[in-house]
Structure formats: structure tokens, C-alpha cells
């Protein structure tokens, strides 16, 4: 019978990523509910900085998987190495943060190990011995509960902030080196250069007021009504990704997981649905007003003021009222 929870820990510049600390926190909570040990695995050419960082956490063991072929992440390298570790430990659960890296290989790893992955979960619940996984569906409009059955290992990736890293339990953990059989010929992709995208002209992180526009604006010509409102409020224009993809505004105005993270005094969104990738970039705003015609729009879940209505009717009048109030 498989036993234990293995967390695969991601790192950048010799530091454990926050999303992995959240995953460890989630694993600790699942462990408390199921009475299982928690292990962490670090993959790198040199694991020492990360294993040292993790050794003061409440973990039953840390596996250091060091190999020159793991200096750069590749889906083949990680899959071959982790499949060997998972065969040895035979965990009931494998937990990772739902990062870009996890998106790239964890489904493949699960399949290679004869298991299966539920991706982008926001909660794990093991009450009564049965595991229920919750994830957002329909771009956040609804939640879905999934049960898991079978003897195989259950792989789970957790959405950013699904668990609170501040609740991580401390302890002391031993480190075990795990040697893997991994050769250059196992890796089919060649990693070339890494580079930063275009430099930013606007720094939305410094804005006090952001009027953010989404695809609900329908077409580029309608940007004007948002710009007028932004001008009246003395704020800057921000945008969801599709608006930037379509080139209505520059990519440097994109808010979200692949754009900027902002926390203005006022975030006023127009025709943005509130997909998680957008929300992670703006949920720290002090005050959020959202205008959307769909009463189920997930942006309303995090808004202070939810205005259910047609932005084309409301915004021009709002602009006039703001001017009058100033």
C-alpha cells in the first residue's frame, strides 16, 4: 500500500519558491488529516542551499536529487529522475505548486508512474478517509469537487495561494541523497538562452488608481471611455491579458501572473471576468470596484463593490459624476 506525501520543491536562484512553501504547507495539513509522513524532493546540480532552507521545516525527510543533467530544468530530466524517486518511496500523494514548471511536466510524470494528476486545485480535503479535491472550472465561475479512487499515486498541483505559507510548520528534517540514473541521452530537448521580455514603460506598481480594462470592452475604439474615466480619477490604465495580446494597450499594462502585480488604493475593473491569472496580480489592491454584466463573474468574489451592469451605460455617467465630485 502506498504511503506518504511527497512534495516536489521548485527553486530559483538557490531559494525555494513561495508556491512550493505553500505546497509543503498543504502537504502538512493533509498529513495531519491522514496520519502520513511528508517528504520533500529537491532536484538540482547542487541541492545544498535548498535542503538547508527546508531542514528547519516540519518534514519527515528531504531527498536531495543532485545530478549535472538537472542543472537546467527539462521535462525529460525531471521525469526520469522523479520516476526513480517515486518508485523507491511509493507515496500515496505527490504534491506540487501549479507553477509554469509544473504545467510543463507533472502530467507526464504522473502517467510515467502509472498515476494521475488533478491540476490547479484550490483545496484538498481528507475528512472521513476519502480525498476530495476542489478546483475552479469555467475560468473561475464555478468550483468542482473530484474524488480519487484506485491504488495508484495521486498527483495534485495546487494553485498559488491555495495554502497560506505563513502557516508552514517548523521542525527539523534530515536530508538523504538520492542518486539517480540520468544521462544526457535521456533528455530530448536542448535548453538554449533565457532572456527577459520587453522593458516596462509604465510602472503600474507605483499607481494609486488603476482603471483596468478587459475583453468586455469589445473593441479597441472603446478604450476611450475607460481612458476618460482614468483621466477624471487621475489614474492609469491597466488591462487583462487578452487586451494586451490583441495590442489595444502595451504589454507593460498587463496585470496578472504573467504581467505586473499591483496594489493601488483603487482598482476599478471594467469588463474583466476575474480569472485566477488576473486576480493574483491585483487582489492586494486596497479597494476593488468591478463592473461586469455577468452576476457570476469571479471578479465579484474579491471585489469590495460589485456593480452588475453594462459598462457602456455606466462608465460615461460615472466619468461625469467623478468630474463633478472633484
Amino acid at each position: 500500500m502506498s504511503q506518504g506525501i511527497l512534495v516536489i520543491v521548485e527553486h530559483n536562484n538557490a531559494k525555494v519558491n513561495r508556491i512550493s512553501i505553500e505546497a509543503v504547507t498543504g502537504a502538512q495539513k493533509l498529513a495531519a488529516a491522514t496520519g502520513q509522513p511528508v517528504y520533500a524532493a529537491v532536484l538540482a546540480n547542487d541541492c545544498s542551499a535548498m535542503t538547508t532552507e527546508l531542514s528547519s521545516k516540519k518534514l519527515d525527510k528531504i531527498y536531495a536529487v543532485a545530478n549535472p543533467e538537472l542543472a537546467d530544468y527539462t521535462p525529460d530530466g525531471y521525469t526520469v529522475a522523479l520516476a526513480q524517486l517515486i518508485e523507491r518511496i511509493d507515496p500515496a500523494y505527490v504534491i506540487v505548486g501549479h507553477s509554469y514548471q509544473a504545467r510543463d511536466y507533472v502530467a507526464k510524470l504522473a502517467l510515467r508512474c502509472g498515476g494521475a494528476l488533478m491540476s490547479d486545485c484550490i483545496a484538498m480535503n481528507a475528512d472521513g478517509g476519502n480525498l476530495t479535491l476542489t478546483k475552479q472550472v469555467f475560468a473561475g465561475k464555478f468550483n468542482a469537487d473530484y474524488s480519487f479512487s484506485g491504488e495508484a499515486t495521486c498527483f495534485i498541483s495546487l494553485q498559488a495561494a491555495a495554502y497560506n505559507a505563513d502557516e508552514l510548520e517548523s521542525g527539523s528534517a534530515s536530508v538523504e541523497d538520492f542518486a539517480v540514473n540520468l544521462n544526457k541521452s535521456d533528455i530530448r530537448t536542448t535548453v538554449l538562452e533565457k532572456f527577459e521580455g520587453t522593458k516596462k514603460d509604465v510602472d503600474l506598481a507605483a499607481s494609486d488608481i488603476i482603471v483596468a480594462v478587459g475583453r468586455g470592452l469589445k473593441e479597441e475604439a472603446n478604450l476611450e471611455i475607460a481612458e476618460e474615466l482614468a483621466k477624471a480619477l487621475g489614474g492609469d490604465i491597466g488591462a487583462s491579458r487578452p487586451v494586451c495580446d490583441d495590442g489595444w494597450v502595451g504589454a507593460d499594462r498587463q496585470v496578472g501572473s504573467s504581467g505586473q502585480t499591483v496594489s493601488p488604493k483603487l482598482y476599478l475593473s471594467l469588463g474583466i471576468s476575474g480569472a485566477i491569472q488576473h486576480v493574483v496580480g491585483m487582489k492586494g489592491s486596497k479597494y476593488i470596484v468591478a463592473i461586469n454584466k455577468d452576476p457570476h463573474a469571479p471578479i465579484f468574489d474579491i471585489a469590495d463593490v460589485a456593480v452588475v451592469g453594462d459598462l457602456f451605460e455606466i462608465v460615461p455617467k460615472l466619468t461625469e459624476a467623478v468630474k463633478a465630485a472633484k
Binding site: 491540476s119 494609486d208 455617467k317 465630485a325
Partner: protein, 257 residues
């Protein structure tokens, strides 16, 4: 060069969705469907690659009869042919089962390149491309925003976190999951729409592929409206009644006026 684009049909982005009676799916009655967002970019990239490399694009779509409409659209935009995997009652919501069906359906076609969108706007598993690659023994890359064929290799630009990018190279045949962004989405022309009618669509029954359709490791128990964690003032009504209330909040709560 033989290129496949795995294309999914999902509810239109603007639809106000309601749940069905037993909370296992949406109520499809008044809902329109369209091609999934990132799949548009996948199709665009497939067409670009085909144009530059004397290629042929096959649209592969699984779903009930309604997906024929999306197939027609993709053909009108320039895809050459299609495979419709007919799954009338969308039997399994399990990501692995769905990928197995697709892998079985495309296995014999020996594609040089299989493209998919990064994730769908309904279940949003984001696993299909990666799983199909593993099932067919092909290398893959996800979050791809640019591609360049170099002989028997393909160089791709991948989006990373925090505004970074990475170039990697893969041997062909390969599977790529395409992220939204850098290419322009093609429009269907009148000529394209006319030509689409003559393009071949192969019908495959999901039931005939030898994959166990029901079950799978994960079972969808229920779909429901999430419970809100934050206190929100909900303003409804016509513009003249909501605007003064918004102004009041901007003044007294947000304190920006």
C-alpha cells in the same frame, strides 16, 4: 509536413452560465459554443508553420455533434482536413481518459507536429498536450509563444514566470502547447468558408477506440457556485441609480475622491 491541432469547443466567453439540475455540468440549453481561446493561437501557429514548410493541417476535435461547427470554422480559416472524435454524451471528465482517446485517434496518422492550446476554458486541466506527447513517446514543450522549424528540429520560445522567456530546441516529431499572444489570429474569408465545405472530415467514434470511457482515477462529484470569502456590496439597477452609489464608495470607503 503533417501538423495536427487539437482543438476544443467551449461555452462562449460572454455566456452567463447556469448549472444543470444535478450539478455535474452546465445547463447547455441557452449556451452558445466557440473554439477555446488558446486553441485559436494553436491553430494560427499551425497554419503559419504549414505555410512556410509545405505542410498540411489536420484539426482534431473531440465532442458531441455541436463541435462540427467549430471544425467548420477552423477549416474556413485554412486548415486542410479534420478528424471528429464523436463523444456524444461527453462520458468522461477525467483528463487521462480524454487524452487516451485523442492519442488513440491520432496514433496512426504519424504527425510531425501536434499542437494544442495551453488549457481549456471549461475544465482547465491544461494536461492534454503533455499527456498525448507521453502516450505517443514524443518530446513536448508548453507555454510556447513562437516556433521556428530547422530541418528535423524545432526551436521554440517559451514563456516563463516573471516576464522571462526561454528558447529550447526539440527533435521532430514533437508536441507543443501554445500560449496566447504573439501571432495574429486568422479570420475566415468568404472563399475560405466556401472551400471548407469540400474539405474532408473523418468521423471516429470514441467508443470504437478501445479506451475504457467511463471511470478513470478522478470522478467529478459536483460543480457549484463558490462561497464568497469577502464582503461585497452588490449594486444593481440602471446607471442613474448605481453611479451615485459608486461615487459614495469612492469618496467614503476608497477615499480617492
Amino acid at each position: 509536413m503533417k501538423i495536427a491541432i487539437l482543438l476544443k469547443q467551449v461555452p462562449v466567453k460572454d455566456a452567463t452560465l447556469e448549472l444543470n439540475g444535478d450539478g455535474t455540468w452546465i445547463d447547455e440549453d441557452d449556451v452558445q459554443f466557440e473554439i477555446n481561446d488558446s486553441d485559436h493561437y494553436g491553430l494560427a501557429e499551425a497554419l503559419n508553420i504549414a505555410k512556410d514548410n509545405d505542410g498540411e493541417v489536420t484539426v482534431v476535435t473531440m465532442g458531441p455533434d455541436r463541435v462540427k461547427e467549430s471544425i467548420k470554422q477552423a477549416l474556413a480559416k485554412g486548415a486542410h482536413q479534420a478528424i471528429h472524435i464523436n463523444d456524444e454524451d461527453v462520458k468522461s471528465s477525467d483528463p487521462l481518459t480524454r487524452a487516451k482517446i485523442i492519442a488513440e485517434a491520432v496514433k496512426g496518422e504519424n504527425f510531425d507536429l501536434i499542437l494544442s492550446g495551453l488549457q481549456s476554458d471549461d475544465y482547465g486541466y491544461g494536461q492534454t498536450g503533455v499527456l498525448v506527447a507521453e502516450m505517443l513517446g514524443m518530446p513536448h514543450a508548453t507555454l510556447v509563444v513562437e516556433t521556428e522549424i530547422n530541418g528535423d528540429k524545432i526551436k521554440v520560445k517559451r514563456e516563463l514566470e516573471g516576464g522571462w522567456f526561454q528558447n529550447i530546441e526539440l527533435p521532430l516529431p514533437a508536441v507543443l502547447s501554445i500560449q496566447s499572444g504573439l501571432t495574429d489570429i486568422p479570420y475566415a474569408t468568404i472563399k475560405g468558408i466556401m472551400m471548407a465545405k469540400k474539405k474532408p472530415v473523418a468521423d471516429v467514434e470514441a467508443d470504437d477506440l478501445g479506451v475504457e470511457l467511463e471511470g478513470g482515477a478522478f470522478k467529478l462529484e459536483k460543480i457549484y457556485t463558490p462561497v464568497k470569502s469577502k464582503e461585497t456590496a452588490v449594486l444593481k439597477g440602471d446607471a442613474d441609480s448605481v453611479v451615485p452609489q459608486i461615487i459614495d464608495k469612492l469618496k467614503n470607503a476608497a477615499k480617492v475622491l
